[in-house]
């Protein structure tokens, strides 16, 4: 439950070393820097979802809503308001977070499959808006005509626009902050109440924890972080389209969390690495990559429900 055992600390060190050195080793194994950025961005989204799913025990199948809002928020800010990467990030995050905070109370009393259903429905609302509001969002063609802007830091300018490695490190920096906040919260008394809710909601209630309120807070934090990921996603692609809001995107986040291991902090990162790489590879190899992705979901559910880290943990424990 967040104790700093030697194992945990070692794992953290390994993960950060791999992430920091990524631009240098990834190309040697057949990858490319943008793929690495993509993994980190989607990993952040999956980890944000896991804050809610793996730690609080609440399943949202509509997180693409806030991911997409973050993306559109960033893109539209840069295109229509001020050509600044920082502004894009901030506005994107705020839009998604606020939407989550408002929608939360409406759905908080539902549980289980019914909760999952309404999260899907809400995501579709935003999809529909992005799709229809052509002149603002670009509709199905997506939001184009803008790119991420170089970072002007006063004493220096970092060209994240042209230099993929520089952009990767920006992504990693934002990732570090967001992930750090989540880790910090999960280790706190508040974080433990979330785990309590996951473990036994009735007992949590009868310890005096106002369950609905805590779930709402967890939900809002989760939405806020996934919006950050969305904003980064827009910046990565210099493009946003309604696909980012579609329910299939939400499903991707869930599968990443499950595949890597819902009960561990870094699980979704591993899940994202595998899933993104697999999807990237498959779509370049065959037109029917969708079937394979679907098959992949089915196999993971049937044979790896605890995820990779879950399986490793079991082996180690026995």
């Amino acid at each position: 439950m967040g104790s700093d055992t030697l194992k945990n600390q070692a794992a953290n060190v390994v993960v950060w070393l791999l992430l920091l050195a990524m631009p240098y080793w990834l190309p040697h194994v057949g990858g490319y820097v943008e793929l690495g950025s993509r993994v980190v961005v989607l990993a952040l989204a999956a980890m944000a979802l896991n804050f809610l799913l793996g730690y609080t025990g609440v399943l949202s199948f509509g997180h693409a809503a806030y991911f997409g809002l973050g993306a559109y928020g960033a893109g539209m800010t840069i295109r229509y308001l001020v050509p600044s990467t920082g502004a894009g990030l901030i506005v994107g995050t705020l839009v998604g977070a606020v939407a989550g905070a408002i929608i939360g109370p409406m759905i908080i009393r539902l549980r289980g499959v019914y909760f999952a259903m309404v999260t899907i429905a809400f995501a579709q609302v935003f999809y529909f808006i992005a799709f229809r509001w052509n002149n603002v969002t670009g509709g199905d063609d997506g939001l184009t005509g803008w790119t991420r802007q170089p970072l002007h830091l006063g004493f220096a300018t970092i060209d994240i626009q042209q230099n993929p490695v520089a952009f990767y490190f920006l992504v990693l920096a934002v990732f570090a902050i967001a992930v750090g906040v989540m880790a910090f919260l999960l280790r706190s008394p508040f974080g433990r109440t979330l785990i309590a809710i996951r473990e036994n909601e009735r007992r949590a209630r009868f310890l005096g924890i106002p369950v609905d309120q805590h779930i709402w807070i967890s939900w809002t934090i989760s939405c806020a972080v996934v919006s950050v990921a969305g904003a980064l996603y827009a910046l990565l692609n210099n493009f946003v389209d309604p696909r980012a809001l579609y329910w299939t995107q939400s499903g991707d986040f869930v599968i990443m969390a499950v595949l890597g291991g819902m009960r561990s902090f870094w699980g979704p990162l591993i899940g994202a690495a595998i899933f993104v790489t697999l999807q990237d590879y498959l779509s370049s190899q065959t037109e029917n990559w969708m079937s394979f992705v679907g098959l992949f979901f089915v196999l993971v559910v049937l044979f790896f429900p605890r995820g990779i880290l879950g399986m490793i943990r079991r082996k180690v424990a026995s």
């Binding site: 439950m1 919260l185 508040f190 009735r202 009868f206």
Partner: protein, 250 residues
């Protein structure tokens, strides 16, 4: 002045009357047992007092405050803690972690994003205290879900105790336990009653436990109050005997 006053509490499930006009007054420091044959409505009665179920009619007054419409979490804050017939704990966490959550919540830290070293120390001390009281110190790091029935129950009771309750409701604490475990739990409850001077109301089927611990006993049958009194009075009450043993004994 009584700590808990239940007035004319009833619960109807459609046409089924589970609890019918039951009243009970519990004095501070008392250990009250609620007994009765199966289906008498005892757990439903508890569920209403703890807020798990809403009563059809009647009032619940705790420490002079009408709590009849308060949500369960709020009743916990007022000082009512309970255990369940089927142990409700956090099975995949260790005993220590279970207690930690209870202690932190009781200390008002449930929303706290951070814990100072000092506070952390205080909490650890309190957890160790509870572990000792419950006889769980040696098993502190074991997963609750993997422990024996008796130990799980003891953990649950200590979690309830962590909340510093003024009233402890125990729903069949010895359910499903063998003789040794029953003995251990009974001793635990007795220690809590005596040393912490807790007011306890418990539902029990095991008469040895009841007569060993209770100051007063309330007997329910088919949702209605059958008798109330000291253990001696109840033991010699013919109506009670009939309810338990059936017409054959009468």
């Amino acid at each position: 002045m009584s700590l808990l006053k239940v007035e004319n509490l009833s619960k109807h499930f459609g046409s089924l009357i589970a609890v019918d006009d039951v009243s009970m007054t519990v004095e501070p420091g008392e250990l009250r047992a609620v007994i009765g044959p199966n289906g008498a409505g005892k757990t439903t009665f508890f569920n209403m007092i703890s807020g798990f179920l809403t009563q059809t009619s009647g009032k619940i007054i705790f420490d002079n405050e009408d709590i009849s419409t308060l949500l369960p979490a709020r009743r916990v804050w007022r000082g009512i803690a309970r255990t369940f017939q089927i142990t409700e704990v956090f099975p995949e966490l260790s005993v220590r972690e279970n207690l930690r959550i209870a202690v932190e919540t009781a200390s008002g830290l449930r929303l706290s994003p951070w814990l100072s070293r000092e506070r952390d120390g205080e909490i650890r001390t309190r957890i160790d205290e509870l572990l000792g009281m419950g006889g769980l110190a040696a098993k502190a790091n074991r997963l609750v879900g993997e422990m024996s029935h008796g130990d799980q129950r003891a953990t649950e009771i200590m979690m309830a105790l962590a909340l510093k309750p003024r009233l402890l409701l125990l729903d069949e604490p010895t359910a499903g336990m063998g003789d040794q475990e029953t003995y251990d739990i009974t001793q635990l409850i007795r220690r809590l009653h005596r040393d912490e001077r807790l007011t306890i109301v418990l539902i029990e089927h095991d008469m040895r436990v009841v007569f060993h611990l209770a100051d007063r006993i309330l007997v329910l049958a088919e949702g209605k109050m059958l008798a109330e009194g000291t253990p001696q009075e109840i033991a010699s009450n013919e109506a009670v005997q009939a309810a338990y043993l059936g017409k054959a004994a009468a």
